[in-house]
């Protein structure tokens, strides 16, 4: 069955299109993009072999790409499953996501990676790529079998959630990963500086009596790791940059021509430690890295707008409600991000004029795809038939109990956002429709 997406405003930064276009998807790929393809539908008769997706009044985007998410498979189906996680992704307009390796057991074994890749085929509703562990058990000491992991289908490697403390191990991991063309996704954090910290270090943490997690725990690790990327020539991608002080090392590394990219999350772009002051001991604000100061947030917005930060990634990290409902120090880090990501950045950055809409789209489609060399993120003939339809004017309230994700924890609860995904298409198949 072919799919005709008709009457929408196509916004595809990678192919330079912004305007009224119809799209025809054949055999799972974009076949034709033209201002009017209605001649494909013979008048008066039922179209044969062509499904029509009406997009008038809607924005047609290349399917969003999220290179940082936790689908919790295998081993933590109480937090999320491939099915619920990818339905949540689809509901947020994502057509491909990267799931990270801090599962139970950790994805440090080619058999586990191959098994997960096979399960994705059966259970996922969007495309899922697997990032395997860098070190055995993500313990930061011995290298995982990166070559075999790549052969088994890993698209990248990462010890996300557990920073690699030893600079020597990090150096060899980068060198070795380079030999297999793997990008290392870096959770940059100095464990000594981070200590027991759970909240951005400063007056809010001090007043609540909660241990602070200073910005420099991130920034010194970023400085170290981009320098190692320069030394080794290996591809380093800095995940979830949160601190202003992390931007200068990234800028210098890029100026030097080091193979470094970086991402930022919607929550670090939109929220600050003021949310912690508001939610107090409710751990729905607990993320790692923590929500930081307004000056950090400002700097991140600027860095994204100028492209110093390459892309937006959600760090969708669902947890069961009972796990999050714990003393702040004990509760796990992480919030659900798929279903609010686009709308949050659209509401907080695009609508107030801080970021042009095409830039937002670019940073959530072609740029994240480019970081990992994934196909997609563009809607030119021959590209995967992955797209998302958004209604930018749709105003809605975040009601986590209506999420597709099993993780209902978000500090955005009750917040009013603009922009809703109305339909998501993967390989020419409609995998999500907003029934609301």
């Amino acid at each position: 069955m072919n799919l005709l997406v008709r009457g929408g405003r196509l916004l595809d930064p990678a192919s330079g299109r912004d305007g009224r276009y119809d799209l025809l998807i054949e055999g799972g790929r974009v076949a034709e993009v033209a201002p009017d393809l209605s001649h494909l539908l013979p008048e008066g008769s039922e179209p044969r072999g062509i499904e029509v997706l009406e997009a008038s009044g809607l924005l047609v985007l290349p399917g969003l790409v999220d290179i940082h998410a936790h689908l919790r498979t295998p081993g933590q189906s109480h937090k999320e499953t491939l099915e619920t996680g990818t339905r949540a992704a689809a509901a947020g307009g994502f057509t491909q996501v990267v799931t990270l390796a801090n599962t139970v057991p950790v994805l440090d074994d080619p058999l586990l990676v191959a098994a997960l890749v096979a399960r994705v085929e059966r259970e996922a509703v969007v495309r899922v790529h697997v990032a395997a562990a860098v070190t055995k058990g993500q313990m930061g000491r011995e290298l995982a079998p990166l070559g075999a992991l790549a052969q088994a289908g890993a698209c990248a490697v990462s010890d996300d959630g557990r920073p690699i403390a030893d600079a020597g191990v990090m150096r060899r991991a980068l060198e070795y990963a380079k030999g297999f063309g793997l990008v290392l996704l870096d959770h940059a954090e100095d464990p000594g500086l981070a200590g027991e910290g759970v909240v951005h270090e400063g007056p809010v943490a001090a007043a609540l009596g909660l241990p602070g997690l200073p910005s420099l725990a991130e920034s010194v690790a970023v400085a170290r790791d981009v320098a190692l990327a320069g030394l080794t020539g290996a591809r380093l991608h800095v995940m979830h940059v949160s601190a202003r002080a992390s931007l200068e090392p990234i800028r210098r590394a890029k100026e030097e021509g080091f193979p470094v990219t970086a991402e930022v999350t919607p929550h670090h772009l939109a929220l600050t430690v003021a949310e912690v002051a508001r939610f107090r001991y409710d751990a729905r604000t607990k993320v790692n890295p923590p929500l930081r100061d307004e000056e950090d947030r400002e700097a991140l917005v600027e860095a994204l707008a100028e492209g110093l930060l390459d892309c937006i990634a959600t760090d969708h990290a669902p947890h069961a409600a009972d796990e999050k409902d714990a003393p702040y120090r004990d509760a796990p880090f992480g919030i659900s991000g798929f279903e609010t990501a686009f709308a949050l950045v659209h509401t907080e950055l695009v609508r107030p004029g801080r970021l042009p809409l095409p830039e937002l789209v670019r940073r959530m489609t072609v740029e994240p795809a480019r970081v990992l060399g994934l196909r997609g993120g563009r809607l030119a003939p021959g590209d995967p038939g992955d797209l998302a339809l958004f209604d930018l004017e749709a105003r809605w309230r975040v009601e986590p109990e209506r999420f597709e994700s099993r993780g209902r924890n978000t500090p955005l609860v009750g917040r009013e956002l603009f922009g809703r995904c109305r339909a998501t298409v993967v390989g020419g198949r409609v995998v999500w429709r907003d029934e609301a």
Binding site: P203, A206, L210, A321, R329
Partner: protein
């Protein structure tokens, strides 16, 4: 995990509590203290049951809450982690629900994790009194410190109080400083930068000094905090002797404060570390009064939580025994 507002009469911290409300509690404590001396304590808690839930060891706070409950004619039931259902992995909130269902009228909670009294108060319809939550607050200790100061000086506003030691990890310092600020006192936090970060001064509206002589200068009250020995393992301080050499309060160093300055310590003290016995036991020391005031303040906050009509209207100052 929807949380509601705490029941009226709850006491979760002194931060954010308005000065007049603190004054009212102190006035009530004074009045109860006077009645206690005369043997005429009113049975304000008659028919009331107070659960003392101590998920962390404590002697003086637990005993003085128990004593305060008994003195006002109420009944105290004691729940520690060992031997209680908390030990079996039941959550604090489920335990509290059980307590409430059995007719408990208020919960006094000591917990090692910051914020647990506040989280509990959002879920039970009865008052919750914070008896110390990790490194956050210990409001009844703060109140008794402030009451002790008010008794010694006849006022709080305009005094300069130096709090010396491990402020970063001190729930007492957070409560005492917040209450003192609300009543118009000046507070200076004194200690090495590892234990007295500037952000904490900003959070509490207090000054910060990393030099003992400077910190004590002009102080009417010098309060030292207990130094936990585990701070050395985490590299906050090099050694007890180094700490003693630079931050220990001795009679000579008390002379850096204002003449007639008084000494305080929330206890239990490491004699010879943060303070010498000469200072701790000197006539200028208010430590003994602190302990007695602990019972009075806890009577007052229990009355505020449970007595019919809450606290009695504040009486004119001359009616209050000083």
């Amino acid at each position: 995990m929807t949380a509601g507002a705490p029941a009226p009469g709850s006491l979760l911290g002194l931060a954010g509590l308005p000065g007049p409300e603190i004054e009212a509690i102190l006035d009530e404590a004074e009045a109860l203290l006077a009645s206690w001396r005369k043997g005429t304590l009113p049975a304000l808690l008659r028919g009331k049951t107070v659960a003392l839930v101590f998920v962390e060891p404590s002697t003086r706070t637990r005993v003085s809450f128990e004593q305060a409950t008994n003195l006002l004619g109420g009944r105290a039931v004691l729940l520690g982690e060992a031997g209680s259902s908390l030990e079996k992995g039941e959550t604090l909130f489920d335990t509290a629900e059980t307590l409430r269902a059995t007719g408990v009228d208020a919960i006094v909670l000591r917990h090692p994790e910051p914020g647990e009294p506040e989280r509990l108060a959002g879920r039970v319809p009865i008052p919750v009194l914070n008896a110390g939550d990790g490194t956050h607050e210990h409001p009844t200790q703060g109140l008794l410190d402030i009451l002790t100061i008010r008794q010694a000086f006849g006022r709080v506003a305009g005094l300069r109080v130096a709090i010396v030691g491990d402020v970063l990890h001190s729930r007492v310092a957070r409560s005492t400083a917040a209450g003192l600020r609300a009543l118009g006192a000046e507070v200076v936090l004194v200690g090495p930068p590892t234990l007295v970060p500037p952000a904490l001064g900003r959070a509490l509206g207090a000054g910060v000094a990393h030099d003992l002589a400077r910190g004590l200068r002009g102080a009417d009250v010098v309060m030292t905090l207990r130094l936990q020995r585990e701070r050395m393992r985490a590299a906050y301080i090099p050694s007890l002797s180094e700490y003693r050499a630079f931050w220990g309060v001795t009679p000579e160093r008390m002379a850096w404060a204002r003449p007639g300055a008084r000494f305080m310590h929330p206890g239990p003290a490491n004699r010879g570390v943060e303070v010498t016995s000469e200072v701790h036991d000197a006539p200028a020391s208010l430590v003994r009064g602190q302990v007695r005031n602990g019972v009075a303040v806890r009577m007052a906050v229990l009355a505020r939580a449970l007595a019919e009509g809450g606290l009695r209207p504040a009486r004119p100052p001359e009616a209050i025994a000083r």
